[in-house]
């Protein structure tokens, strides 16, 4: 199967650095001999014992633990940090790693308690389209078309996002939406979105059932009370105590 080979050098902090495009790199341990490489499909881990398949949860745990707590709040920092260090004037290389939003999806959902985190999107499997005919760009242009069209190539899913007036925000939102759609696509009934819907549905059903039961109890109690009132009236009438109007 296709597996890109990644060159990784660790810097003094024990964090892996990488050249190349796409893919992920995470150095969890501080020691120099443990270097963690992850294949672009995010399905295989390479460590000292060679390539081996990895469970999604394990992978994400390793990625997350490699990142600082601060980074969990400020999403793309650590992975971009790993890759931007010794870059120099690499004008020829396409710095796909220095495009923001790469790690967004992984970190954003990593903190959710109830469900395992979504599989992160691989930037090299995405095609992004912005403003067409942007002209010279930068200061020389004033364009307001900030719509982002994001395509997940392997599945063919396309997300179009124009929720905000900021290209940056639209890119992040598009990735989040795409990540959920990809999850549904590959995991179907097991996808997180589907599970959440089921759970919400179940909760709703349970709530309805409880409400119904409570209502029936109330109804029963009311009937009992009314019945006891009726009995009291009859008894009163028989004793001759005023309360009846028949006389």
């Amino acid at each position: 199967m296709r597996m890109s080979l990644w060159q990784a050098r660790e810097d003094a902090e024990g964090v892996g650095r990488m050249r190349g495009h796409g893919g992920w790199c995470a150095g969890g341990e501080k020691s120099t001999q443990t270097s963690l490489l992850i294949s672009p499909s995010c399905r295989f881990l390479l460590n000292v014992s060679g390539w081996r398949p990895v469970q999604k949860q394990v992978l994400l745990h390793r990625l997350v633990s490699a990142m600082s707590t601060w980074a969990l709040l400020r999403f793309p920092a650590p992975l971009i940090r790993m890759c931007s260090g010794n870059w120099g004037l690499g004008l020829q290389e396409k710095p796909a790693l220095l495009f923001p939003g790469m790690a967004a999806t992984a970190v954003q959902v990593a903190g959710r308690k109830d469900y395992p985190a979504l599989l992160p999107l691989n930037e090299s499997e995405l095609e992004e389209q912005f403003v067409k005919g942007h002209g010279p760009g930068g200061q020389a242009t004033n364009k307001t078309s900030n719509c982002v069209v994001l395509k997940h190539v392997p599945s063919g899913i396309v997300v179009k996002c124009h929720q905000t007036r900021s290209v940056d925000q639209n890119r992040k939102i598009a990735r989040k939406i795409l990540q959920e759609k990809v999850d549904i696509f590959y995991n179907g009934e097991n996808s997180r979105v589907h599970k959440e819907k089921l759970e919400a549905g179940r909760k709703k059903q349970a709530k309805k059932k409880r409400a119904k039961e409570t209502l029936e109890k109330k109804k029963l109690l009311k009937e009992l009370w009314e019945a006891s009132q009726h009995v009291t009236e009859e008894r009163t009438g028989a004793d001759g105590v005023p309360g009846g109007f028949r006389e």
């Binding site: 931007s84 004037l89 403003v131 760009g137 925000q169 890119r171």
Partner: protein
Amino acid sequence: MKLWGRILWTLLSGSRGRRGVPQGWALNSWKPLSSLTGLLSAREVVSHWTQVFEQRGIPEAQESSEYIVAHVLGAKTFQSLRPVLWTKPLTPKQLQYIQELCSHRLQRMPVQYILGEWDFQGLSLKMEPPVFIPRPETEELVEWVLEEVAQRPTTVGAQGGPLILEVGCGSGAIALSLLNQLPESQVIAVDKGEAAVRLTHQNAQRLQLQDRIRIVPLDITSEGCWTHLLSWGPIDLVVSNPPYVFHKDMEQLAPEICSYEDLVALDGGEEGMDIITHILTLAPRLFNVSGSIFLEVDPRHPELVSSWLQSRPDLRLSLVAVRKDFCGRPRFLHVRKSAV
């Protein structure tokens, strides 16, 4: 029919007395009366004005139309409007307001000035001509600075967080988004334009960030301006989106830019390097032992800056990284002062 007639009457009587808008065009810009029938929902109004803009050669006809209509309906983008509002009929007042805003667009006013606001890095900023409108690329400059700050925590002084100097703050976009996302930071924002200084003040107050920003009217090309900047202590970072357009390219700028924005905020001189070189000359005096400069530039500048720095070894600066924008053009530079 009665309602439609009322709307038409409101619109025509509304536009008659407007200053600066010749009476004739208002009627010409509308299609023949018969086609106005049913032009009442947001979608239809967008469609109508898109056509009008296209006929008049206004660029981004649909986007402009959508932003204006969305704005009148209280949303930032058309897509973010509640779907029910797409088909709901608009009130005469709304239609009139839309027409008023669209008339400015017909005069090639940038949408950001028409709406009087725009978004940058999740912040809503007031926009006012002729202060320079933040460009979408510049959001990535801010992202880069944030990443670098996260990676290299600056020595925590008495006031915490990095002390950042922004040169040419304009509307305050870069300064305020950094302050917003770096709660311990402080910013000195300078601009030689009075309107820019005022607008940055207003935006800082809107966002309640005025406590951590000092806005100084200053021309960094003026002699000895650096002494004034040192009064707050050594600076950790310099950030700027300086005027970097090559002078010969200025005449090719769209009317939106030429007629409404301050051209001084764009013209970088012959090779677009004038302000850049001033910043690079100034920065080393402001840093302590080391420091970083982050710039947005023209795609031709990485090489020009690199060779210029080599011609000025006295500054002890080196270009350490170039980053591309979302269109794949080299757009951002990281220049560092070496400690040795």
